[in-house]
């Protein structure tokens, strides 16, 4: 007699599961409600927080849009400057700087009063002329002359970047400098400024003479120009990137619906997951309950355990109910084991 022989048939387990199908479905439903409900409550709180942040978002969007408009304007200005500036479009590897040193001398009219001929008055008038060269800069006639030389119109500010007029007052000198990546054109620019400015100031400030006493020119790479050009391109790139980032931020702030849609999907996913967990747990529980159950309607176990044949099968239902039999079996057991 094999005391431990017990035959377990999975088919019987499935039959017993079918008997408890409602319980299994209930467990799956509870699992789905618990996990799905948890996710739904979480989503509800998130949605409420989202509503509260909507107002904040609107304000943020307004601020971002203002920044974007400002940046757009700045970007347009930068781009216009890069396109129109002479300085930005020169080749910094070979820049020629031409400087014309001129001596200024006040020349009073031949019929001028004698008090205008004295050295002090002459010195004061020369000082006026030097200050005019220093302060006036490029006048309209000068710009017109430069436009005529280059064959295209440029704003004064762009000429200011490549042409400088300064003075050495003690020596009554005016220095006119021009930068260009072509040595000839650099000299022509300086000459044009000199002659046009001289004509204009002679007429409008004081009559004077301008004697060219030295021409200095040198051609070299200009690291400052290179840095300035590179900085400008970097600014444009940075602004372009910033604009795109602002676009994305505005889009994200404008579109909170995507998050809510995702939440619904998550709720369903969690509910399905919960149902599966409930199903698995109930199956596991029923398996253990079944495994330790006192009753296993299985004839094979009986024959295996006792090594005795089963001669026949008779219905037990007519004899007595299962509960009554079980009760009797228990009472018999108690009686035999006082």
């Amino acid at each position: 007699m094999d005391e431990n022989a017990t035959v377990y048939d999975i088919r019987l387990f499935i039959c017993s599961l079918l008997r408890k199908l409602k319980l299994i479905l209930l467990a799956a439903l509870i699992g789905a409600l618990l996990l799905g409900g948890f996710q739904a409550v979480k989503a509800w709180f998130a949605d409420r927080a989202s509503q509260e942040s909507l107002t904040v978002n609107r304000k943020k969007i307004k601020e971002l849009q203002d920044t974007q408009a400002f940046n757009e304007r700045l970007l347009a200005d930068y781009q216009t400057y890069v396109d129109a500036s002479l300085y930005q479009n020169l080749n910094p590897l070979a820049i020629t700087r031409t400087s014309l040193y001129n001596h200024v001398r006040y020349v009073p009219d031949s019929g001028a009063a004698p008090e205008l001929q004295d050295p002090e008055t002459i010195a004061r008038n020369e000082n006026v002329i030097l200050n005019a060269y220093r302060l006036v800069g490029l006048t309209e006639p000068v710009v017109a002359a430069l436009d005529a030389l280059l064959g295209e119109s440029h704003a004064t500010k762009y000429y200011d970047e490549i042409i400088t007029v300064d003075i050495l007052a003690d020596a009554s000198l005016v220095r006119i400098s021009a930068l260009y990546d072509d040595p000839d054109l650099s000299r022509q620019l300086a000459d044009t400024v000199q002659s046009a400015l001289y004509a204009d100031l002679s007429e409008r400030v004081r009559p004077h003479t301008l004697s060219l006493i030295r021409v200095a020119d040198s051609t070299a790479a200009d690291p400052d120009m290179r840095t300035a050009q590179s900085d400008m391109l970097t600014k444009i790139d940075k602004l372009t990137i910033e604009q795109k980032a602002i676009d994305r931020q505005i889009e994200a702030l404008k579109n909170p619906a995507a998050e809510s849609q995702l939440t619904w999907q998550t709720i369903v996913q969690f509910a399905v997951f919960g149902a599966l967990i409930g199903l698995a747990l109930s199956l596991l529980l029923l398996f253990f309950v079944d495994a330790v159950s006192l009753k296993l309607d299985q004839e094979k176990t009986l024959t295996t355990r006792y090594q005795l044949p089963v001669l026949g099968r008779l219905p037990a239902a007519a004899a007595s109910s299962g509960k009554a039999r079980h009760k009797r079996a228990k009472s018999t057991q108690k009686g035999q084991n006082p």
């Binding site: 007699m1 039959c15 079918l18 008997r19 006192l294 296993l296 044949p309 037990a316 039999r325 035999q336």
Partner: protein, 143 residues
């Protein structure tokens, strides 16, 4: 619905639980008893003890009656096989005199784990008394 499902599954895997014909089973049981314990050559009546740890005395007597009817031959005045209910093998006072005369024993059981100790004791006691155990009669129930 689940009951119906269970019946369908059981019918597929365990047709014996559903489609048993009690009369047919009784006749199979009769044939097996006959083959295990054929009529005595000297015409002596065969005494078969019937015991169970799950059936009440009345139920046991009822089963004995059924068996006796199934084994009876209409042409014989005296039955060849006699079935006696031995309600509890612990009641040695009634069992021992019967044991000396018994040709074999049938045990009506239903496989339940809680019954193992009783079945174990019954078998030991029957063996101690030298009673030949013919086998089990399996009590099935369609739940």
């Amino acid at each position: 619905m689940t009951r119906r499902l269970e019946r369908i599954v059981k019918k597929h895997w365990f047709p014996e639980y559903l489609d048993l014909d009690p009369a047919g089973q009784l006749s199979i049981l009769r044939e097996r008893i006959k083959s295990l314990l054929p009529p005595s050559p000297d015409g002596r009546q065969r005494l078969i003890l019937v015991t169970s740890s799950v059936l009440s005395p009345d139920e046991l007597n009822d089963q004995c009656q059924k068996l006796a009817e199934a084994m009876a031959s209409p042409d014989q005045a005296q039955a060849t096989w006699r079935f006696v209910a031995a309600e509890s093998v612990n009641q040695s006072a009634t069992l021992i005199p019967l044991a000396a005369q018994a040709d074999g024993c049938l045990i009506f059981e239903q496989q339940e784990r809680s019954l193992y100790p009783q079945i174990d004791r019954q078998l030991v006691q029957l063996k101690d008394l030298g009673i030949r155990i013919l086998g089990f009669v399996y009590l099935y129930g369609v739940s």
